[in-house]
């Protein structure tokens, strides 16, 4: 994580739900539970977006304000956090949260991608940017894309390189970009 989450906590506005004590208890009623999961998914996404987190470590997260409301003395334990992310990772067609999370460490379920934008969505944004800045057929390094001055104001600035690669690979599959070079020194050309 490039940004220290603790640094900007003060500016993150928690939704009113966060101060609602039952929010931290898995609801016994199935319908209510669904509503609860949707709210958690939305909160986790906006939290990660605010802090520019793509890779969420549950072990850390359960101690962070996201899952631990200290003033209210309520918390989401690890087991429950896993259930919420499991639900987020499920596709909407299966009654899940539309693949807004993805386990990175498989069965261990301790680290997950939080897709507040999915790689396909990033791909679209990148392609638009390339188009509007007239950089088609120009070769850029991935480092430039992520850390360069030109992208300073962009949402993907400072992004996890793995996420960037996933997004670029979407463009490669669509035939809109080509990635070359050794790992760690990749360059990319957009068409």
């Amino acid at each position: 994580m490039k940004n220290n989450p603790m640094a900007s906590i003060a500016s993150f506005q928690f939704p009113p739900t966060y101060s609602f004590p039952p929010f931290f208890t898995p609801q016994p009623n199935a319908t209510t539970r669904l509503s609860q999961l949707q709210k958690w998914s939305a909160l986790i996404q906006s939290w990660c977006r605010h802090h520019r987190i793509h890779r969420l470590s549950l072990i850390d997260a359960v101690e962070s304000p996201l899952f631990h409301n200290a003033p209210l003395r309520k918390r989401i334990p690890l087991v429950e956090a896993r259930k919420i992310l499991d639900w987020m990772a499920e596709g909407e067609e299966k009654g899940g949260g539309g693949r807004r999370a993805e386990w990175i460490d498989g069965g261990n379920k301790t680290v997950a991608w939080i897709w507040w934008r999915r790689p396909e969505e990033w791909a679209g944004i990148l392609a638009d940017w390339i188009e509007s800045t007239g950089q088609k057929n120009v070769v850029l390094t991935v480092y430039e894309l992520v850390e360069g001055e030109e992208t300073m104001s962009k949402e993907w600035h400072g992004m996890d390189v793995d996420v960037m690669m996933k997004s670029l690979n979407v463009l490669v599959k669509r035939g809109k970009a080509q990635v070359f070079g050794n790992e760690g020194q990749e360059g990319v050309k957009f068409f």
Partner: protein, 262 residues
């Protein structure tokens, strides 16, 4: 008349003549009364008409003015929304026979206004049903409708507007109704009868924010089983949320959650 009782056969004729003229006079009185009432009414209607026309923009834009106007109409027995539900398109011309009072005066805008509110109320109820079990406070509803979803889509409305809008849905058999719990009004979008115990518990939650089984036992002198049953029912209907992280299970009303679900 009674003192000067007529004698002879002539008296009969006199008497029937007298009653005839009484009847005539009565009819006269009635008809003048009626026509003067009719005159008054038409004068009043035209005044109301001019008033509404003159202030139509204010009525449309100022919610409290609108509420007062609607209240005045109600007081004198004019139901602004009566017979307005089917005529949608024709009513726009404003002169159609079946057009409602509002339509005649305001050229359809007013009906459109209430339908717009009604549509938003229905949307909101549907969106939040899984969160609140189909029971939403009129005030919370008004606040949300007032905010709108997109920028600039807020509608400034009063509680009265919301109630009126819900009422305008009645002919559709929509199952939307207004229920009163304690001193608060709710829109209920799931057909369900709250029994007395359930209503009592909801009222307690309104006041205290939450309840627990022991609170019900102590304050209402209920048997544990009775309290448990009511709570279980409310949970099953999604009307309360469970917090199991305290010393004792607490049950909260989701009424204040609304603000962030948009």
């Amino acid at each position: 008349m009674a003192s000067r009782r007529g004698v002879g056969l002539g008296a009969f004729a006199n008497r029937s003549q007298a009653s005839q003229s009484y009847a005539n006079h009565g009819a006269n009185l009635r008809s003048t009364h009626l026509s003067s009432l009719q005159a008054q009414l038409s004068v009043f209607q035209s005044l109301l008409h001019t008033f509404a026309l003159e202030h139509s923009s204010t009525i449309k834009s100022n919610p409290s003015f609108r509420a007062e106007f609607a209240r005045m109409c109600n007081l004198i027995g004019v139901d602004p929304l009566a017979a307005s539900n089917v005529k949608g398109k024709n009513a726009r011309k404003g002169t159609g026979e079946g057009a409602s009072f509002w339509t005649q005066i305001m050229g359809g805008d007013m009906n459109d206004f209430y339908f717009e509110v009604a549509v938003r109320v229905v949307e909101l109820c549907r969106e939040t049903r899984s969160e609140n079990g189909g029971l939403i406070g009129v005030q919370e509803c008004r606040r949300r409708v007032g905010k709108g979803k997109a920028i600039g889509s807020g509608l400034e409305v009063t509680d009265d507007d919301v109630l009126r809008a819900v009422k305008s849905l009645e002919p559709l058999g929509s199952g939307f109704s207004i229920v009163r719990v304690g001193n608060k009004q709710y829109i209920q979008s799931v057909p369900k009868e709250l029994n007395t115990d359930q209503a009592t518990v909801l009222e307690v939650i309104q006041i205290l924010g939450y309840v627990s089984i022991s609170m019900l036992q102590i304050n209402l002198k209920w048997e544990k089983a009775r309290a448990q049953t009511v709570i279980d029912d409310l949970l099953a209907d999604g009307l309360v949320w469970l917090d199991a992280q305290g010393e004792e299970n607490e049950y909260w009303s989701p009424q204040n959650l609304l603000d962030d679900s948009g």
